[in-house]
Amino acid sequence: MMKRKTSFSSFFTVLICLAILVSLLPAAAFTQTRRPISIEFDGRGITGDVSPIIIGGRTLVPMRVIFETLGADVNWNESTRTVSGNKAGRVINLVIGSRTATVDGRSVALEQPAQINNGRTLVPLRFVGEALGAQVEWDSARAIVRIASTEASRRRTPVEQALRLTTGGATFPFPLYTRLVTEYRRITNPAVTIDYASVGSGAGIRGILARTFDFAGTDAHLTDEQMAQVAPNQILHIPTVMGAVAVTYNVSGVGTGLRITPDVLADIYLGVITRWNDARITALNPRVQLPDQRITVVRRSDSSGTTFIFTDYLSEVSERWQRDVGRATAVRWPGTTVGAHGNAGVAAKVSQLPGAIGYVELSTAIQGRLNMAQIRNRAGNFVTPSVEATSAAAAGLVRQMPRDMRMSLVNSPGPEAYPIVGLTWILVYRDQTDLAKARATVDFLRWAVVERNLEPFAADLHYAPLPEGVITRVREQLQTINHNGQAIWR
């Protein structure tokens, strides 16, 4: 009996022990994952009096630690049990126990609410960090939360020593590039100085072929003859932005928005249509009182990418233009024309000469508040040049893009597309000879084009951003750039 009782009690004991063990299991599991979590801010370790904890897969940290690290003011309102942080005008509010927070008055859902633990207020780290403009990453292997301020997350170190790249070419994207290289120099450490000289597309192409430029800008892609001067696929075409060429005019009594068809435009530049009240122009603009005035044709006197886009378009829409004149950065103009230097020169000539017509890049036309013609596109619609109409032109042509990205965007089939549109490229050697320069070049192009950092600057200057499909191709092209067979892209 005794034996049995003993066996029963021992059974009972084991049962109790098991029950206790089972009940403890989750706690044990919990304590096991509860390795000390550390926080790093821009690479520096941060210590608080209470260590961060993970609840429901979210890291919570003492409020003062995170707010003060990110340089925000923090306030605690006892009556409403609200934590509020303020950094440079951005206000975030968290109520203890509430799954809704507000950022500048907007409601944001939280997976874990702010809570009080051991008399300390804990707030969700990722939400607070990102709401205050920092980047938050969780390194699960080492249990480190990495917070990077926006400033630091934009820093780049492509090279080990300060470096200067000599580049140049197309005038058309020059204003954009001046802003890009200034910004890129500011965020690279050691500084990468990229000097872009606005010498024209032709000089840019000569510079890359002669290797006097580390990379070059051009609005006209290389011809097959030029490509033949170097080994096959040796020079890559990296598109950066797209731009439109506006047709501008100065006709007494006629405002902006005159309608012009491709054949009329070609015939004006061919010298076939010579007066503004020509039947073919008045037929397009029945409501406009066109004067009996001679048309003065203004064109660029310098070698220019804008001329290339314009003549590329005329060659596309007029067989006679293609046969007699063709497309180039400088052409033999038919008929009587007036030459002017630069976009600004053409703009000035057109506004000085009554009856003048000319072509300038869109930003010049907008800055100078010039009259802009509506051009009939392939779909039959009259379109005023704009950034949107430029993007629409690319959308219609991306699928036909050749492997080497040497393509023309003029006369796009899109219904909303403006037809006189072109790409501007950066030309760069695939096989690089200087490792540091190669790293700086690839990193710059990656930062500007692939990571889309050029887009805010481009919008200001009326350039259209590249479509997604083209950016993917740019990434693939940049990945082929190498030094002694070693790819530079990392």
Binding site: R164, T166, G168, P175, T178, R179, V181, T182, R185, T193, D195, Y196, A197, S198, V199, A210, R211, T212, H341, G342, N343, A344, G345, A347, V360, E361, S363, T364, Q367, G368, D460, L461
Partner: protein
């Protein structure tokens, strides 16, 4: 009697025509100066003179690097051109009738007539393409090539103005040829030599094409002579043809700085000559 009257009338008419032409030239100069001053003065302040250019759309920005680049390249050009030019002039003065002298004179006259663009292309082909590198050094050399003939020809004229009697007196007193050249002819001609040199400096400071083809341009500070460099004429050229009103205004400002610097240099040189002549 009648012929005398006609002669007098013709004389005063011609005198008047000369005066008118002189006034016209002066008027043209004054108008150019006035216009550049009126358009440019608004852009000029201390930050404009000492800071780097800013990108389009960012306010401020200056011509500091272009000023330094221009000054450095012109100084480099002068450093190379002045010794060569003066030495050549001394040779021409001492041996005026040799074949080499005739050839040198001819070559220099031709060189002064060569467009600056061609000189730029020459240095570009010989230096930039060979080394694969645009540099301030190449820019200085291109400017030196432009300056040498101007200095040589003007210096020869100035040396020739030193009277033969003076040279004979020196030699008669037992001075060597070297002593005569160094201690008599050169000091006597200094005023004229300085004017010739200033002319060459002014010519070099205003050149666009030779500098653009050799030193290119830059939007940053010059750190060593092997880098591309900004310069005032190239900056003016670029900014004036840009579509941005603030750049166009800066082009006028830079033009005023360039013209004023050249004017001050010339006036200083003239004053130096006047002062020297008075002392003698």
């Amino acid at each position: 009697m009648a012929t005398k009257k006609i002669r007098k009338a013709t004389g005063s008419l011609l005198e008047f025509a000369c005066l008118l032409s002189a006034l016209l030239v002066l008027l043209a100069l004054c108008l150019i100066l006035y216009y550049i001053f009126r358009r440019g003065i608004g852009a000029i302040n201390i930050p404009f003179l000492i800071s780097l250019p800013t990108p389009v759309g960012e306010p401020g920005g200056g011509i500091g690097n272009a000023l330094i680049g221009s000054a450095l390249m012109v100084a480099l050009g002068s450093l190379l051109a002045i010794p060569f030019g003066i030495a050549a002039a001394i040779y021409l003065d001492q041996n005026p009738r040799t074949r080499l002298a005739a050839a040198t004179r001819f070559a220099n006259r031709v060189l002064t007539g060569v467009p600056s663009l061609i000189i730029g292309l020459f240095v570009f082909t010989v230096l930039v393409l060979r080394t694969g590198n645009y540099s301030a050094l190449a820019g200085g050399i291109a400017l030196a090539v432009m300056m040498i003939p101007v200095i040589t020809l003007s210096a020869e004229e100035m040396l020739r103005l030193v009277p033969g009697s003076l040279r004979e007196a020196s030699l008669a007193l037992g001075a060597s040829k070297k002593q005569t050249v160094l201690m008599l002819i050169l000091p006597a001609a200094t005023g004229g030599l300085v004017v010739g040199i200033m002319l060459a400096v002014a010519l070099a400071a205003g050149q666009t094409a030779p500098v653009l083809l050799t030193a290119l341009t830059s939007r940053f500070w010059l750190e060593n002579l092997n880098q591309t460099s900004a310069s005032l004429p190239v900056l003016i050229y670029n900014y004036a043809s840009s579509p941005f009103p603030d750049w166009q205004e800066q082009a006028w400002g830079a033009a005023l700085v360039l013209v004023a610097t050249i004017l001050i240099l010339n006036v200083t040189a003239q004053l130096f000559v006047v002062f020297r002549n008075r002392r003698h």
